[in-house]
Symmetry: C2
Subunit: 224 residues, 2 copies
DNA sequence: CCTCTGTATTTTGTATACAATATTCATTAT
DNA sequence: ATAATGAATATTGTATACAAAATACAGAGG
């Protein structure tokens, strides 16, 4: 209710895209909480646009799994159940393994060195203690691998899955006890990709996702 | 241009959903061809609704990968390039393997016997020579496996991937030479699930998808 | 006091009107 | 003849108006 959502009018994009990005960010940041209703008129007046782009943005959020709409009842921010999160993580594990496998085959030397850079930057980011900075550094690390697959549709799906986890993953990154584990896991992933060893890479990423899964599921159980 | 699209007004659904289903079907049937423009006013008058539900349906098609829109230019039916199809198939192979693996772990006896039924029905359908009947029987067979995963999000993704392939897969099913191969592959998949042998199941489905991949890619190359 | 019902209000669903942009095609100048 | 220009047209982008359904709440009846 106390949302002061604001549009990024910089880019010259259709309003539906601007609204979509704005709402998406708000959901991921937690400004719009799971279960919160997305009322068209309210959002329209808050963002200073008409209902039309709001509606189209909601349709897009819906497909991303970030919103759910019941006919004649309206839309709300998607609530993630434990089961839902397990389902997402199950898929993510498989696609992340695929991504690592493809990256082993296709990664260029330049991408490998970028991956090492991002790995180091991530390690440094942990010292800041700033969760948002850490999360972004982590995303950047994995994005190098995603891009290296050369499969934009896969990248898109992985980004989408990550979004659905992101909100809950933040909690995991707040606990400094996990940092040494994360560093080791990233190192293992990097090394196996460097050696272009598919099996090692798949195992390394599987462990990484599994540890996330444990942590994320705990957060959901807490919130109930 | 000669489309006589008609709405299924049976169900009491929001028009956007009815329009979405109608357009989706039309694209999958090939009535709306890749690259064909989706003009709002034209579609609206053809379907007897206003532009609003058309626009929302297009947003949904867009997220399914069945339509592409360029700002200020409009939407068109997604063209599938060879590269695009390879990307889709790469993902599909991974998720179909995951589905088989999960089905091995979770499939009930009842689902197993349904799978056998669908396998037999598929074999019979081949004798009709009716491609649409065959395609549907094939879909039904695989749907049993998908449902057995108990993961609705995965089912959704697999259906979505299947849609993108469907239009091109039809050609493969027109050639009766392929029928014995399909029967054998389905049998292998069924047997490995029956034995709950994950590795066998993953291998069987991988072969199945790979053979599809070869055929589908040929179709695309033909069409250019 | 509780429940049911009916009305008022809110909210979504759909249609239409208007604005902005892109495309097309004819015209003109080189 | 070809290329550039500009007006006419077509199409999308956005806002608003109206209709239909759901929700909330108050009042009547048990």
């Amino acid at each position: 209710m106390t949302e002061d959502l604001k549009l990024n009018m910089n880019a010259y994009l259709p309003l539906r895209d601007v609204v979509f990005n704005t709402l998406r960010e708000a959901i991921l940041r937690g400004d719009l909480k799971p279960g919160e209703r997305l009322m068209e008129i309210q959002l329209a007046s808050q963002l200073g646009v008409s209902r039309t782009p709001i509606r189209e943005a909601i349709r897009m959020l819906e497909q991303e799994g970030l919103a759910v709409t019941m006919p004649r009842k309206g839309a709300e921010v998607a609530k993630m159940t434990l089961k839902g999160m397990e389902d997402v993580l199950e898929i993510r594990a498989a696609l992340d393994e695929l991504a690592c496998q493809l990256a082993c085959e296709r990664m260029t030397e330049e991408q490998l060195s970028r991956l090492e850079d991002k790995k180091v930057i991530f390690e440094k980011s942990l010292q800041t203690g700033n969760v948002k900075v850490i999360a972004e550094a982590d995303v950047n690390f994995h994005d190098v691998i995603y891009d290296a697959t050369g499969n934009p549709k896969l990248v898109n799906m992985l980004n989408n899955l990550r979004e659905q986890i992101y909100r809950y993953r933040i909690e995991y990154l707040k606990n400094a006890d996990n940092y040494p584990i994360l560093i080791k896991e990233h190192e293992a992933i990097y090394q196996s990709l460097y050696n272009r060893n598919k099996d090692d890479a798949k195992e390394a990423i599987a462990i990484h996702v599994e540890n996330q899964a444990i942590a994320v599921k705990e957060v959901i159980v807490m919130q109930g």
